[in-house]
């Protein structure tokens, strides 16, 4: 990474996109994943592959069912709560602060 310092750095230099995620460490975040999944949880750790450890997560799976007769699309969401989760980075699409407060 760009800054290699031996002491703890209180001021955070934002130099690359991953640093933006560093700003959200220990905050609640929203993660959009592949296969129509969304996670909302507290970011405990992440790495360059975007593997993440999230605490108190709520997973939302969105499915579309098409009614055979009326052909209307029914969006169903299934939610799950998991206390502590390790997420593999290749499933992550985007990371953002939770959308309700927004920054």
């Amino acid at each position: 990474m760009a800054d290699d310092q031996e002491q703890q750095v209180p001021v955070q230099n934002v130099e690359e996109p991953l640093d933006l995620i560093r700003l959200s460490l220990d905050e609640r975040i929203y993660v959009k994943m592949r296969n129509e999944r969304e996670l909302r949880g507290r970011l405990n750790a992440y790495d360059q592959h975007l593997n993440m450890i999230l605490g108190d997560v709520e997973e939302t799976v969105t499915t579309v069912e098409i009614d055979e007769e009326t052909f209307e699309e029914i969006y169903k969401t299934t939610k799950r709560n998991i206390p502590m989760l390790f997420v593999r980075g290749d499933g992550v699409i985007l990371v953002s602060p939770p959308m309700r407060t927004g920054t």
Partner: protein
């Protein structure tokens, strides 16, 4: 170990020896005792229950999951992830400090070694010069 430094896999190794659930990309889940996690996130498990997305369960005495197929790994409540993360970060800093210290010590040793060599050579030359002088004086006397 080099392969897993600076990635979260070293934290995932904290789950080794615990019973937990691994969810795969193809919507299947495997619950069992995690025997080993390797740098590619491949997981070897023991005494597993394989639950397919259709809800059908199979039991296996040993199971190997390829890292690429993993979507989630549930982390049991017994593990204090925050403490593990802090430990890893401290280990990183300590390793880095240790490495810089070792490099500095090695460099210093090299410098002192070079200086010692140089000093030895100068004393050798001085002694040789003295010997030459003595020889000349002896020759002059005789």
């Amino acid at each position: 170990k080099f392969l897993i430094r600076n990635t979260l896999i070293s934290l995932l190794k904290a789950v080794e020896g615990m019973v937990t659930t691994v969810e795969l990309r193809n919507e299947n889940a495997v619950t069992g005792l995690i025997q080993n996690v390797d740098p590619f996130m491949n997981i070897v498990m023991e005494d597993v229950v394989f639950k397919s997305y259709r809800g059908i369960s199979h039991n296996f005495s040993s199971f190997f999951v390829q890292g690429m197929n993993i979507r989630y790994v549930h982390i049991p409540d017994e593990i204090d992830m925050r403490a593990a993360i802090d430990q890893e970060v401290n280990r990183e800093w300590r390793m880095r400090d240790k490495m810089t210290r070792e490099i500095r010590d090695a460099a210093r040793k090299r410098i002192t070694k070079r200086q010692l060599q140089a000093d030895k050579e100068t004393t050798l030359r001085r002694r040789q010069a003295e010997l030459e002088e003595k020889k000349k004086i002896n020759q002059e006397e005789t």
